[in-house]
């Protein structure tokens, strides 16, 4: 890209009914929000030019997110607060942007640097104490690996690698809330819901409704090129 561009990082939430969007649908909706906002965006080269925009790690259908992010390259500088304001007006409520700031061109892509994801999983099992869920979850994690079927193939996740900080369970009205951190990498991204399903199966409540929220995305090292 010959012309100067400004890389705007937009943090947004995926909440309410819009947690049922697929990643592609979220991408599409955010692109359209940028267009509606009237921001002047850079365009990729080639036969089929597209808006230059890059997203963080995908969220599955049904999973909410409190601090998701995308980078969009602008061809005209707009004060971050102004950009945020126009984006908020142009975006459906369930994908509302919370923050916009410019980041350096040299910084790695969101997908590459945001390797840790914090989750909260609400489990609706009124009559199962947090103790038995914690115990079942502890058993799964202690077993070392979790095999999951995805589109006909079996994939094994090494739980020590995927769950660097273990999992914590606390009681809330009507059920329990599990907090955990997932490390993403070349092996993929363990879906917290799948982990909880396995624990719930062991705890004798395989069909208990769960609601998953990714509360934060962060880099692995504490010291990064933020700001």
């Amino acid at each position: 890209m010959a012309d100067a561009t400004y890389r705007l990082r937009v943090t947004y939430a995926k909440t309410g009914r819009l947690r049922y969007l697929s990643h592609l649908e979220v991408v599409h909706a955010c692109e359209r929000a940028v267009r509606r906002a009237g921001l002047e965006y850079a365009v990729t080269q080639g036969f089929n030019p597209r808006m230059k925009i890059a997203f963080g790690p995908a969220l599955p259908v049904g999973t909410a997110g409190n601090a998701e992010a995308y980078d969009v390259w602008l061809t005209r500088f707009v004060a971050p607060d102004d950009a945020l304001k126009t984006l908020r007006n142009a975006t459906p409520e369930g994908l509302a942007p919370a923050e916009a700031r410019y980041v350096g061109e040299r910084e790695g892509s969101l997908a590459a640097i945001m390797t840790l994801a914090d989750y909260e999983v609400s489990v609706e099992v009124p009559d199962m104490g947090p103790g038995s869920l914690a115990e079942a979850l502890g058993d799964v994690i202690a077993s070392g690996s979790l095999e999951l079927e995805h589109k006909g193939a079996i994939k094994a996740y090494d739980l020590a690698t995927c769950l660097p900080e273990g999992a914590r369970v606390r009681e809330e009205t009507g059920g329990s809330v599990v907090s955990l951190t997932v490390r993403m990498g070349a092996w993929g991204s363990l879906r917290p819901e799948a982990l909880l399903r396995e624990a719930l199966r062991r705890a004798g409540a395989p069909d208990a409704p769960v609601a998953v929220t990714r509360t934060n995305l962060r880099p692995e090292e504490a010291c990064t090129t933020r700001g």
Partner: protein, 615 residues
């Protein structure tokens, strides 16, 4: 009225593509406090229904009426329908998630014959009695409209009323009549009698159906003929500037601007060409203004200039120049849905930069000049080959050609003519393509079966039987080039059923109900279509579908749709039929002089061109 979301949401974790059911898109209108509520239902899934421009227009107009709310409803996919039935959740509207049966009015689009079982599925899921005759005072008023309203008889028993023709002005009148009837405490029968007085509104229960010997007969003051509604000047209605922007990757996911309505090229097989007359163009200024406004409001990355023949617009070149200039560098593409088979069509496609990415689509429809003259498809082999040469020399590598089998008077030679025409196209395309690039050439040929439709010059003709279709497909396959062409067939069984339904009468309601009760639904989706189910349903009702589809009608015999007046005179259709059989072509009245089809004189309208002339 209760909000059903808390009962819908638990189902979403277990179904495919929950986005279909969550509403919340940009551009949604929510008017929960309106006292009059209309549900607009497209009888198929969300991703098909959201492509329908008529619904977007009516949604806009109805939500613009004081104290009226219009909400969308679609047929849930089979997995969601099963989950809803198991959880006893009725069909709901998207915007406020309330039961469709709690709405005052349910408007159902009639896009295509094969959606008829979906209409029953929707009514049943809504908890609304299937037959209008079973509905009582407080039941939702069920009104249909769309292309199939021009022979509404097969589904007429399911509707309280059907709007024939264009809805822009008529929907407000229907709503006003219904509100007045509600305010006056009218019985259902009285309400229907009043609705029958709204021009263009057909109330089936007020007509004794047509039979072999006698035309449909009105009673209780209903008009003898229901004349289609037509908007004299499209300029009186702006294109929607802020239509809903779907999250889901729907069919035709783009900004749509209707640049003109109607087509008078006069192809004799084409129902759209007859029922949407006359040609009415929007002005270049209005098109560019509305297109840019819609792109700005929706953030869509693609703009489509829609109509039956967009490159016929008298100012199309000006429109495309202005739009491509305004959209430069924004990664917004412009699409033309249909192209003329001439160098002008290719030039227009080049103007919007389609060259590098898209393919071109042309519809010669028949393989010989003789048969193209019969159907009044004014395209010659020279036109086609020259156009293909221009396109491939200009960098296009993908081409799609549409043909039909079973057109009236078709012989084996006409079928072989398709093969030889495709051979010539292939040779010209190869010649015009540098050898190194020939690997990227894609030539697709799509062949459908001709289905005679009501209100066309071929409405009296017989359709090929399934056996005849298979035999002719064999001949075609043998005549096609061995290599270099992808050949696609439209499912012959689907066309057969379409033919049986397209020209049927009131007695088909029971057949449709049987087919639906035996598990039919989504019949327009090949994977859900089971011909056996339909054959059994026809047999059980003692109706012969082969006769319905394949017998020729006498020119003077009553037809089930005789009381529906498209404005095109029956005598004109008969004259066009006679000219077809003589192989005489008829010119296009939007380019040349009037051909006296009757639309303008009988409906008090005229051809509206934005520029001085077409050419």
């Amino acid at each position: 009225m209760t909000e059903l979301w808390s009962r819908v949401e638990p189902l979403l974790a277990h179904v495919e593509r929950p986005t279909r059911y969550i509403d919340s898109e940009f551009g949604v209108r929510r008017r929960p406090d309106a006292s009059y509520r209309a549900a607009l239902l497209y009888p198929d899934t969300y991703e098909l229904g959201m492509a329908n421009q008529a619904l977007a227009i009516l949604y806009d107009i109805l939500n613009g009426i004081d104290d009226v709310a219009a909400e969308r409803a679609f047929l849930p996919a089979k997995d969601m329908a099963a989950a809803m039935r198991a959880a006893d959740v009725p069909l709901f509207t998207l915007e406020t998630v309330r039961a469709v049966r709690d709405c005052d009015l349910l408007g159902i689009t009639l896009p295509y014959e094969l959606t008829c079982t979906n209409i029953l599925e929707a009514l049943d899921m809504a908890g609304i009695p299937l037959y209008a005759s079973e509905r009582g005072g407080s039941d939702t008023l069920v009104i249909g409209g769309g292309p199939c309203a021009f022979n509404p008889e097969p589904v007429a028993d399911f509707f309280d009323a059907v709007l024939v023709g264009e809805g822009e002005a008529a929907v407000a009148e229907i709503v006003a009549a219904h509100r007045a009837a509600l305010a006056d405490g009218c019985t259902r029968a009285e309400t229907l009698r009043r609705l029958a007085q709204v021009p263009g509104v057909y109330v089936p229960s007020l007509y004794a159906p047509a039979s072999e010997g006698a035309p449909a007969h009105p009673r209780e003051g209903a008009p003898a003929k229901v004349t289609k509604r037509v908007v004299a000047d499209l300029g009186a209605y702006r294109s929607p500037t802020c239509p809903i922007v779907p999250f889901m990757d729907v069919v035709h996911d783009r900004a749509n601007i209707e640049v003109l309505r109607g087509c008078t090229r006069g192809c004799r097989f084409c129902q759209a060409g007859m029922i949407y007359r006359p040609v009415r163009e929007r002005s270049a200024d209005a098109i560019v203004r509305d297109a840019l406004a819609q792109l700005k409001c929706t953030g869509q990355e693609e703009l489509s200039l829609t109509s039956l023949s967009t490159t016929d617009h008298s100012q199309i070149e000006e429109v495309l120049r202005r739009l491509s200039h305004a959209l430069r560098g924004r990664a917004v593409s412009i699409g033309l849905p249909s192209l003329r088979v001439d160098s002008f069509g290719v030039a227009m496609a080049r103007l919007v930069g389609e060259g590098a990415r898209g393919g071109l689509t042309f519809a010669p429809e028949a393989g010989t000049q003789r048969l193209r003259d019969v159907i009044n498809k004014n395209v010659t082999e020279e036109d086609l080959l020259a156009t293909v040469r221009t396109a491939f020399e200009g960098g296009w590598r993908r081409l799609k050609l549409y043909f039909m089998l079973g057109l009236p008077t078709e012989t084996d030679d006409d079928i072989r003519g398709i093969g030889s025409l495709v051979n010539k196209v292939l040779a010209v395309a190869r010649e015009a393509t540098p050898p190194a690039q020939r690997g990227g050439m894609r030539i697709a040929v799509s062949v459908s079966t001709f289905v005679p439709k009501a209100h066309t010059p071929f409405q009296w003709e017989g359709q090929l039987t399934l056996e005849q279709v298979r035999e002719r497909q064999r001949i075609l396959r043998e005549s096609m080039p061995r290599k270099g062409v992808e050949l696609h067939w439209h499912d012959a069984e689907v066309s057969f059923l379409e033919g049986a339904l397209a020209r049927g009468g009131r007695d088909l309601a029971r057949v449709i109900e049987r087919a639906w009760r035996s598990g039919g639904g989504f019949d327009a989706w090949t994977e859900h279509f089971v011909l056996r189910r339909w054959l059994d349903a026809f047999a059980a009702e003692g109706i012969d579908p082969v006769s319905l589809a394949s017998r020729s009608r006498e020119l003077d015999a009553p037809l089930p749709w005789d009381h529906i007046d498209s404005g095109v005179a029956r005598a004109y259709l008969a004259k066009e039929r006679a000219r077809a059989l003589e192989g005489v072509v008829t010119p296009d009245c939007s380019f040349e002089e009037c051909t006296a089809c009757g639309v303008c004189s009988s409906l008090g309208v005229d051809v509206v061109l934005a520029g001085d002339h077409r050419g």
